[in-house]
Amino acid sequence: MTSKKVYIASTSMVRVGRYFTKSYKELAFDVVSELFGTSRLGDLNNLDYVIVSNVFSDSMLDQLDISAILAQELGLTPKPALRVETGESSGLTAIAQAYALIRAGLASSVLVIGVEKCSEYPTTVVNKHLTKLLDYEVESIYGFTLVNEVALLMKKYMREYGYSREDMSSWSVKMHSNAVKNPYAQLRFTVTKEQVVSSQVLSEPVRQFDSFPISDGAAAVLITSNENLIVGDDCLEVEAVYQATASQLNLRDELLELPATKHLLSKLLNKCKFDIGDAVMEVHDSYSILGYLVVEELGLARRGKAPETINDLNNVNLSGGLKARGHPIGATGVYQVAEVFKILTSGLGDVRRKAMWGLIHSMSALDVNSVGIVVRRCS
């Protein structure tokens, strides 16, 4: 039985971390096995498509066509499989593509697997690959990287609104305190503002504790229009999906706005009428300044006020966000969806909310390729 409605029927994750004894195949196997075990997917007859989100397979794993390799490894052949890559927002783009396939009538059930293995190399090598998120010919070849642009933005924000370095640390403190309650988070410990401001400088004023950690991870989500695959009350309906791109930093007239995010949020919030203050949200906060700017784009804080209000926001990044849950690059968006699913249904550990609505936001680099999804609890 199919309908035009698109549901998130089941999710699974491994704890984000550094898995020196496991390969990406084993991480993917673990989450897909759990998903098959807990979902009603049963045999493969109910599955139409496999979408793999991964960013660095060719850079760090020497592997192209990772979706076919995983289909072989996980026993998913002969299902069609493809890899999605839109930089850091790949995971949520994969979910968006699954939604599109189902809405187009080309599939009724799609398995989305997000997997990334960043711990295979030392940090300097991972950093080199991360520079590829920018325009190589114009930015990366000069040795510039995302953290430099983030630093320019953060400095401008602090200057414009009169914040001290310590004031800017509230995001990290909040995210770490959230991550303590998330059993799948990488950094399950609290930090103080003093620890944030005394951590290593990456590109001043950005410090280590403003940044995501280097992470491995795998998460899987079953997207379907087949109501028979819904388990009990554990179900979210995908209400809307929007994506947008934007110019690089030096071409922006308003440096302290996120143009792609602003564009897609206006479409999302125009289509779905709900009180955003009551929704459960997972947003992209690779660096604390970006967390503040996203919160301001969402209207949860006035421009320039996010560092003062984040401590009172108890519906944003309950997972700990990229900052403390971790940022397994291509898997992150899939994690975000799985987290909102669990928070709204059976619980992310003990974190559970009665809210009806969820919003998931992801972006790549400085908001150059961004995705937003709104979900609603089925029951």
């Binding site: 030392p122 080199k128 950005v206 071409l251």
Partner: protein, 135 residues
């Protein structure tokens, strides 16, 4: 990382000078050189060569460690507004970090970007130093 000779060479004028895009419809100038205007999307554009002089709008001192870039770390990365109007991201060199400030006048200077193994090719491009041209 091995660099590609054709990939670099075909853009040599972009690396050995600062090329900007001037829109003949909306009039705005932007960096880098492109076949479109990023602001009004017009294709009615022309490429002009910047005089390479401008001022620092914002800057950061970067300690971020990237494989292959170790000898050029830390470095100062800045947003620079060229006198022609557009903003460019550039590295500021030949300056003590205590002397960098917003509003600092700078000029483009050709410097080494990267080199391959000892004895290999050296790739050059523009960086910025405090303006000395008028002295």
């Amino acid at each position: 990382m091995k660099l590609s000779i054709p990939r670099f060479w075909r853009r040599r004028f972009d690396y050995y000078s600062i090329k900007i895009t001037e829109c003949l419809d909306c009039g705005r100038k932007s960096y880098p050189r492109r076949s479109i205007c990023v602001y009004c999307k017009s294709r009615n554009v022309r490429t002009v060569t910047s005089a390479g002089v401008g001022e620092v709008v914002a800057y950061t001192l970067s300690y971020y460690r990237i494989e292959g870039e170790e000898e050029n770390t830390p470095k100062i990365v800045a947003l620079i507004r060229l006198d022609e109007g557009p903003i460019i991201i550039g590295e500021v060199v030949d300056v003590d970090k205590s002397e960098v400030r917003e509003g600092l006048r700078v000029e483009g200077v050709l410097r080494k970007l990267k080199s391959e193994d000892p004895g290999g090719l050296i790739y050059y491009g523009f960086k910025f130093r405090p303006l000395i041209r008028d002295r």
